[in-house]
Symmetry: C2
Subunit: 241 residues, 2 copies
Amino acid sequence: MPVDPKVPGSVWTRPGRPQREQLTREQIVAAAIELLDAEGVEALSMRKLGTRLDAAATSLYRHVANKDELMELVVDDIYGELEIPVADGPADWRAAATRAATDLRAMALRHPWIAPELGQAGLTHVGPNTMRVSSELLALFEAAGFPAQEKDRAMGTLMAYVIGIATSEAAYLSLIARSGRTEREWVADQRPRFDAASEEHPRLREGGSAQQDVDPEKIRDDDFAYGLDRILDGLAARLDA
Amino acid sequence: MPVDPKVPGSVWTRPGRPQREQLTREQIVAAAIELLDAEGVEALSMRKLGTRLDAAATSLYRHVANKDELMELVVDDIYGELEIPVADGPADWRAAATRAATDLRAMALRHPWIAPELGQAGLTHVGPNTMRVSSELLALFEAAGFPAQEKDRAMGTLMAYVIGIATSEAAYLSLIARSGRTEREWVADQRPRFDAASEEHPRLREGGSAQQDVDPEKIRDDDFAYGLDRILDGLAARLDA
DNA sequence: GCAAGGCGCGTACGGTGTGCGCTAACCTGA
DNA sequence: TCAGGTTAGCGCACACCGTACGCGCCTTGC
C-alpha cells in the first residue's frame, strides 16, 4: 500500500506551502560547497547533491545548465570569501600584497578541492566575485606604482605562485585526509618509503631530515612565506628601477 | 558461422606467436599519452584505451592497478622529456634556471592535460623521472649557492610559479582548442563579451586593449618571462645577502 | 475562472571504473 | 614428453555517472 505516488491534491498532504519549497541557485551552490568541503571533488555528483536537497538530480537542471556551470558558480561563490586590502600608496603596498596572497592561500586550503579549479578561472570564468577580486588586486598593484602595461603581469606573477603552491598543498592535504591520519603521523609513516626511494638521489633527503621534529604545518607556512618574500622582493626591485 | 569464438588450438589459426602479442606497461602508457594529447584528459577512459590497443578494457588491469596509477605512470613518463641543465657555479645559475623553467612550461603546454596533475606530483608521486628532475633542480640551486635549508624553498618557489602559470595557460588553450578556432580568432571573438562584463571594473580592460594587435602567443611568452625574471631577481637578491 | 508557464520528477540512454571467474596459453621441473 | 602451476586476456556484471525528454502539478496573470 504505497502512499508515495502522490495522491492528487488532498489538503491534508499539502501543508499550505507548496509541499516542496522552491529550489534556488543559491541553495544548490551552498549545498554543493558543503558536499565538496566534506567529501572532496570526486564525491560531488548531481544525484548526491539532489539527495542532500531532498530533490531529484534532474531538478537541479532547472537552475543550473550543467555540472560545469555549477562548478563555475561554486568557484565564484568561494571567491566571495576574499577581501582584498586597499593600498593607499607605495608605502603599504607590500603589506597589502602579502595579506592578499596569504588570504588567497588560506582560502584554497579551507576548500582544498578548489585549487585545481582556480587555475582555470582566469579568463574563462567571469563571475562577479572573480572579477571583483581581480579588479581589486589590480588596484593594489596600481597603487604600488606599477605602470599600466606592467600591473597585469605583476599580478599574474603573484597569482601564479599562490595558485601553484596551493594546488600542491591541497593535493597533499587531501591525500592525507583520505588516509585518516594527521599530517604529523603521515609524514612519519612515509619517511621510510621516502628514504628508500631517494637512496640514489641523496639531495632529496637533506632538506627534510634537518627539521624532522618541526610541525609540518609550520614548515608549509614558512615555505610559502619564503617564496612570497622573494617574489615581492623581485617585484619591489622592479618598482625602484 | 562466426569464427570469432576462438577455435581451440589449430596450428593454422595460431601463427607461431601467441596470436595476441603481450600487452606491456610501456605500451599502455604510450597509448594513453597519445590519447591524452589527441583528445584531452576527460576523453581518456579505460575502454577507449583498450580499443586503441586492440584489447579489452579489463585486460589493462593486469599491468596497471587502476586509472590513478596509470596517470601517475603517464606523468612520470612525460617528466622524462625534461633535461635539466647543469650549473657549474653561481655564474651561470640564472641562465640554467631560466632554461629549466622555460622547458618545464613548454612541456606542460605540449601536453596541456598534464598541468593540473603536475601540482599533485610533488611528494605523492615518486616515479624515477619525477625524482630525477627534482634532484637535478636541487643540484642547480645548490650550485647557485643556496644553503642547505634554503635550496628546497628556492626550488619550490620557482616550481610553484611555473606550475601555476602553466595550469592557467593550459586550461585556456584547451578551451580554445575545443572551440575549434585559433587563439587570435578566439581572442577577437571574446572581446565584446569581455568588454561588456568588465564595464564596472574598468581596470580589467586597460591591460588588454593596449596590445590588441599583438600575437597572443607572444603575449603569453612575454608574461611568463616577466614573472620569471622578477622571481629570479628576488632569489638572486637573497643569494647576495 | 481560466490559460500559460515554470518547476519537480520518473524514466531512460549511453557512458564510466573495475571485481570476478573462466579459458587458454606459457613456463617449469621431472 | 608430459603434467602442473602460473599468468594474461576477456566477457560479464555491478554500481555509479551526467543529462535529455516529456509528463503533470502548481503558481501566477488576466
